[in-house]
C-alpha cells in the first residue's frame, strides 16, 4: 500500500443540510491508517450522517471525501465499497429469507462453470470457515431471519472483515443491541481486525465502550466537530464534559440551576414559595405505574406522574425508554405490572382504549406513525379529535375550522393553506402538526416520545415551550428526548432508564447535564430516592 503516514481517510468541510435542519456543518476529519477512531456525541450531533457520507449512503451538501488518496466528489455505496469501506449499521440489514452463507457473500456469490453457475458447495464451505473464525457455532444454511439482532450484527462484521476484506470498517452503534457474550465476541473481532491493520470508525453513545477500544476520538456537537482527542489524554469525566458542552464548564459542580428553579417556581407555585419538586406530596398522581415488565425490553418499571408535572425519561437508545411509553399506550404488550389512572387500575391494551381513557401518545416515528402525509394539515390535526368537532352524523365544518386555526396559532405553524398536504411541509412544521394532533385531544396524560426529534432550533424551542406551558396545564406529561438539555429545560423530574431498569431519578434542583449524562451510561452517581 501507499505511504503509511498518510491518513487513509480525509474529510474536508463536510456539510449536510436536510430540509429544516443542519445535520453537519463544515466538519473536517482525518483518520490514520490502522487506527480505531471513535466518533461520539449526543443524539442528533451528526454522527450517523457523517459516517453515512463516508459509506456512500448519504450525499453531502458540501465538502470532499478522500479515501486512500483518491478524491471522491460523488461517493455512491458501490463506489465506497470498491474503495474498501464497509459499514455495520445500527439496524442490521440482511436479507431475512436468505441463508447465512448467501448473506455473507451477497452480492458477489462464488461462481463456477465460467462464472455462470453459483458454486454453492464452496460458498457454504467458505462461509463455515468464516463463521468458525468468528467463533460462532452456526450453520451456514441457517436463515438470517432466524438469528437474533446481535448475531446478525456480528455476521455483518464478519462479512466486512473476511468477505469484503474492507480496509475501513464503520461501526454505527453496532453495540446497541448486543448481549454480553455477543459484545465480547465483537470486541474480539475488533481487536483482531486492528491487529490485521484495519482502520475502524466506531460510533457510540457509550463512553466506556469507546475508551476501551479507541486510539483517538472525535467529538461532534450540534453537527460541528469539537475536536479530536487521544485516548491517553482523556478520562471518562473529561470526555463527558466535552460531549455535553459548555454548560457544564460554566457551572462546575454547581448544585442548582437558579434559572431553571426560578422558572419552575414561577410556573407552578407562588413566587418565592417552595419549588414544586420539593413538595411532590401535595400532588395527586394521575398516572401510576407499578412494576411494569415486558420481557427483553424493560422490567419493574414503577413511577407516577402528577397533574401539572412534566416527567422526563432519560436513557440511551435501546434502554427501553420508548418501549415503556408504547406499552403504556397499548402499542406493545405488557407481561406484568399495573397501570393506574387517578388511582384506578386500568387495562390499556389498544390505542383506542388508551385514548378513551384520556391517554395520548406522540410517536417517535413522525412520518410512519404520526402523520397521514397524503392528507391535509387540517385532517391530520384533528384526526384524534373527530368526536370533538362532529355533530350527530356529520363533521361541523365551522367548529373544525375554528379548532384547526386555534391549534395552528398555538403552534405557530407555517403553511400555505389548511388544505395543503402534510407531505409538502418542512420537517419542523410536520412535527408541529403531530404535536397539534395530541394537543387537540385534551387528554389527562401525554406520553411524548421524542417530540423534538430531527427539527431545527427554532421549531424545537417552540415545541418545548408548548410542552412546558400548554400541555402541562391540567395534565400529566411523560417525555423522552434525544437531548438531555431539552429534558433539563422542561422537566420537573427526570427518571433515568438503563437496560430496561430505572436507575434513579433527579429532581429539578439536582439537574446537571453531566451527572445525568453519566447516569444514563449506567453509572448512577448518587441516586436520590
Amino acid at each position: 500500500m501507499s505511504n503509511a503516514k498518510e491518513p487513509i481517510l480525509t474529510l474536508r468541510g463536510l456539510s449536510k443540510l436536510y430540509p429544516g435542519t443542519v445535520a453537519l456543518q463544515d466538519v473536517d476529519l482525518e483518520v490514520e491508517r490502522g487506527e480505531t477512531h471513535g466518533i461520539i456525541g449526543k443524539n442528533g450531533a451528526g454522527k450517523t450522517t457523517l459516517v453515512g457520507i463516508v459509506a456512500g449512503l448519504v450525499q453531502p451538501s458540501a465538502g470532499s471525501v478522500q479515501i486512500n488518496g483518491h478524491d471522491y466528489s460523488r461517493l455512491t455505496r458501490i463506489g465506497a465499497r470498491k474503495a474498501g469501506v464497509a459499514i455495520v449499521p445500527q439496524e442490521p440489514q440482511l436479507v431475512q429469507q436468505s441463508t447465512v452463507a448467501e448473506n455473507l457473500f451477497l452480492p458477489d456469490y462464488l461462481r463456477r462453470g465460467h462464472g455462470l453457475l453459483v458454486d454453492w458447495q464452496t460458498m457454504h464451505r467458505r462461509a463455515n470457515e468464516i463463521l468458525r473464525r468468528g467463533r460462532l457455532s452456526l450453520d451456514s444454511r441457517t436463515r438470517a431471519g432466524d438469528l437474533g439482532i446481535g448475531l446478525q450484527q456480528i455476521l455483518l462484521m464478519l462479512k466486512a472483515a473476511y468477505v469484503e476484506q474492507a480496509e475501513v470498517i464503520i461501526l454505527d452503534e453496532a453495540f446497541a443491541s448486543l448481549s454480553e457474550r455477543e459484545e465480547a465476541l465483537f470486541y474480539e473481532l475488533i481487536r483482531e481486525r486492528k491487529a490485521a491493520g484495519c482502520t475502524i470508525l466506531h460510533i457510540s453513545h457509550r463512553i466506556d465502550e469507546l475508551l476501551e477500544v479507541c486510539d483517538r476520538m472525535t467529538v461532534l456537537r450540534d453537527g460541528r466537530s469539537i475536536g479530536t482527542v487521544k485516548r491517553a489524554d482523556v478520562d471518562k469525566d473529561s470526555l463527558a464534559a466535552l460531549i455535553v458542552g459548555e454548560e457544564s464548564e460554566l457551572r462546575p459542580g454547581a448544585p442548582t440551576r437558579p434559572g431553571a428553579a426560578d422558572r419552575l417556581g414561577a410556573a407552578s407555585s407562588p413566587a418565592g414559595g417552595p419549588r414544586p419538586a420539593d413538595a411532590p406530596v401535595e400532588r395527586t398522581p394521575v398516572l401510576e405505574l407499578r412494576g411494569l415488565t415486558r420481557a427483553e425490553r424493560f422490567s419493574e418499571i414503577s413511577f407516577s406522574v402528577a397533574e401539572n408535572e412534566v416527567l422526563g425519561l432519560a436513557g440511551l437508545i435501546g434502554s427501553g425508554r420508548s418501549s415503556i411509553l408504547r406499552a403504556i399506550f397499548g402499542l406493545e404488550p405488557l407481561d406484568a405490572g399495573e397501570i393506574r389512572l387517578n388511582g384506578k387500575p386500568v387495562r390499556l391494551d389498544r390505542p383506542t382504549v388508551a385514548l378513551r381513557h384520556g391517554v395520548v401518545y406522540l410517536p417517535e416515528e413522525r412520518d410512519d406513525e404520526g402523520l397521514i402525509t397524503t392528507l391535509s394539515v387540517k385532517t391530520n390535526l384533528l384526526l384524534s379529535a373527530l368526536r370533538r368537532v362532529s355533530g350527530r352524523v356529520c363533521i361541523d365544518r365551522a367548529r373544525e375550522g375554528e379548532l384547526a386555526r386555534d391549534l395552528a396559532a398555538q403552534l405557530a405553524l407555517h403553511f400555505a393553506s389548511f388544505d395543503q398536504e402534510v407531505s409538502e411541509l418542512s420537517g419542523g412544521n410536520r412535527q408541529k402538526v403531530v404535536v397539534g394532533k395530541v394537543l387537540s385531544t385534551e387528554p389527562q396524560v401525554f406520553l411524548l416520545d421524542e417530540p423534538t426529534k430531527g427539527i431545527d432550533i427554532a421549531a424545537k424551542a417552540g415545541i418545548l415551550r408548548i410542552i412546558r406551558e400548554g400541555l402541562r396545564t391540567n395534565s400529566a406529561v411523560v417525555v423522552t428526548s434525544p437531548g438531555l438539555d431539552d429534558l433539563i429545560e422542561i422537566c420537573d423530574r427526570i427518571v433515568v432508564v438503563h437496560d430496561g431498569r430505572i436507575l434513579g431519578s433527579f429532581q429539578a434542583h439536582e439537574f446537571q447535564e453531566e451527572r445525568i449524562y453519566k447516569a444514563i451510561q449506567g453509572t448512577m452517581m448518587q441516586p436520590t430516592r
Binding site: 399506550f329 402499542l331 390505542p351 383506542t352 388508551a354 385514548l355 378513551r356 401518545y361 410517536p363 410512519d368 406513525e369 404520526g370 402523520l371 397521514i372 402525509t373 397524503t374 392528507l375 385532517t379 384526526l383 384524534s384 373527530l386 368526536r387 362532529s390 352524523v393 356529520c394 363533521i395 365544518r397 407555517h414 400555505a416 393553506s417 395543503q420 409538502e424 394532533k437
Partner: protein, 334 residues
C-alpha cells in the same frame, strides 16, 4: 394564497373534471351526434355499470388495497339471487327479496375478502385473486346456461325508464356517488376511513380501528359490484355466467384517473365518477367514429397510461406552486 394560485390549485384538485369537460367539448365539435341529448343519456347509461365497479375499486384503493374479485361478484351475486328466485325457491323469493339477496351476497363476498385481508393478513392481490377465480368457477358450475327472462321488477333498476326517457340507473348511480362522497368527506367515519388507507400505522396510533375500515372497504366494494350486477342483469334481461369478465382492469383505470393511487389515502367518489364518465365517453366517441372494439380496448389502455402521466404532472405542478408560494412568503417576511 394568491388568487391565480388558488384557481390553479382548484384545477389541479379537480383535474379529472377538467379532462371530462375538455374531452366533451372537443368531441362535441368533432364527432357527429356526440352532444345530442340522446347520446349524453346514452353515455351515462352505458357508464352506469362500470361506474359502480370503479367506485368499489376506488374505495378499496383509498383503503390502500385492491380488489380483483369484483368482476366475478358482478355475475355471481345476481346469479345466486335469480337462481333462488326462479328455480330453487320460487314461492318464497320474490323479486324484491332477490334484489336484497343480490346485495347481501355481494356484501358477504366482500366481507370474506376483507376479513381474510385484515385479520389473517393475507395479501389483498392474492386473496382477491383466489376469490375471483373461485366464485367465477362456482358460477360456471351452477350456471352452465344463461338464465332468462328475469322478473320485470328485478330488471327495473337496470332497464326501467323514468319520464323523459331517462334510465332509472342514471339517477341511481348519481345518488350512490353523491352519498358516498358526503360520507367520506363530511363524517368522522369517512375521515377515519381515508386516514386508515393513507397510513395504517399512524391511524392505529391515532386510535382508529384500522382492520374494521379494511373490512368496510371490501364490503362496500362487494355491495357495489352486486349493484353493478343488478344493473347489468336488468339491462340484458338475462344472466350469463360470463358477466363481468375482464371489467376489473378497467375499473382500476377509472379509479386511478379519478384520483386514487395504489398507495392509498387518495381520491374522492366524485373524482371516481369523473373517471368512469371519461372511460364511457371515450369508448362512446370512438364507437361513433367507427373504431372497432379491439382498438377501443387498446385505446383504453393508452388512456390509463396518459392518466398516470397526468397524475405525475399534477404532483409536480402542485409542488411547484407551493414552492413558489413559500418563496414569496419568505420574501414578504424579510
Amino acid at each position: 394564497m394568491k388568487r391565480s394560485t388558488r384557481i390553479q390549485m382548484f384545477l389541479i384538485e379537480n383535474l379529472i373534471w377538467v379532462l371530462v369537460a375538455a374531452f366533451f367539448l372537443i368531441n362535441a365539435a368533432v364527432t357527429p351526434r356526440f352532444a345530442s341529448y340522446a347520446n349524453v343519456v346514452n353515455i351515462l347509461y352505458h357508464s352506469a355499470i362500470m361506474s359502480m365497479l370503479v367506485l368499489g375499486q376506488g374505495l378499496v384503493l383509498i383503503n390502500g388495497k385492491l380488489d380483483l374479485s369484483i368482476e366475478s361478484t358482478l355475475g355471481f351475486a345476481p346469479g345466486i339471487a335469480m337462481l333462488m328466485a326462479m328455480q330453487q325457491f320460487p314461492e318464497i323469493v320474490g323479486p324484491l327479496t332477490a334484489i336484497a339477496i343480490t346485495l347481501i351476497v355481494g356484501g358477504m363476498l366482500g366481507w370474506f375478502n376483507g376479513f381474510c385481508i385484515a385479520k389473517l393478513k393475507i395479501n389483498p392481490l392474492l386473496q382477491t385473486l383466489a376469490t375471483m377465480i373461485m366464485i367465477r368457477g362456482i358460477l360456471l358450475f351452477i350456471f352452465p346456461f344463461s338464465l332468462f327472462p328475469l322478473d320485470p321488477l328485478y330488471r327495473y333498476a337496470g332497464a326501467g325508464r323514468l319520464p323523459g326517457n331517462i334510465p332509472v340507473s342514471i339517477p341511481l348511480i348519481l345518488i350512490i356517488f353523491f352519498i358516498l362522497n358526503l360520507v367520506l368527506q363530511y363524517t368522522p367515519f369517512g375521515r377515519r376511513f381515508v386516514a386508515a388507507g393513507g397510513n395504517a400505522r399512524a391511524s392505529h396510533v391515532s386510535g382508529i380501528n384500522v382492520d374494521r375500515m379494511t373490512i368496510y372497504a371490501f364490503v362496500l366494494a362487494g355491495v357495489l359490484a352486486a349493484v353493478a350486477g343488478l344493473l347489468a342483469a336488468g339491462r340484458q334481461g338475462s344472466i350469463s355466467n360470463s358477466m363481468g369478465e375482464g371489467m376489473v382492469l378497467l375499473s382500476f383505470a377509472g379509479a386511478l384517473m379519478g384520483g386514487a393511487s395504489l398507495q392509498g389515502g387518495k381520491g374522492t367518489p366524485l373524482g371516481m365518477l369523473g373517471g368512469a364518465l371519461l372511460l364511457g365517453m371515450f369508448s362512446n366517441s370512438l364507437n361513433l367514429l367507427g373504431v372497432g372494439p379491439s382498438l377501443i380496448y387498446a385505446s383504453k389502455g393508452a388512456l390509463i397510461f396518459v392518466a398516470l402521466l397526468l397524475d405525475r404532472g399534477r404532483i409536480r405542478w402542485r409542488g411547484y406552486l407551493l414552492h413558489k408560494e413559500q418563496l414569496e412568503a419568505l420574501e414578504h417576511r424579510s
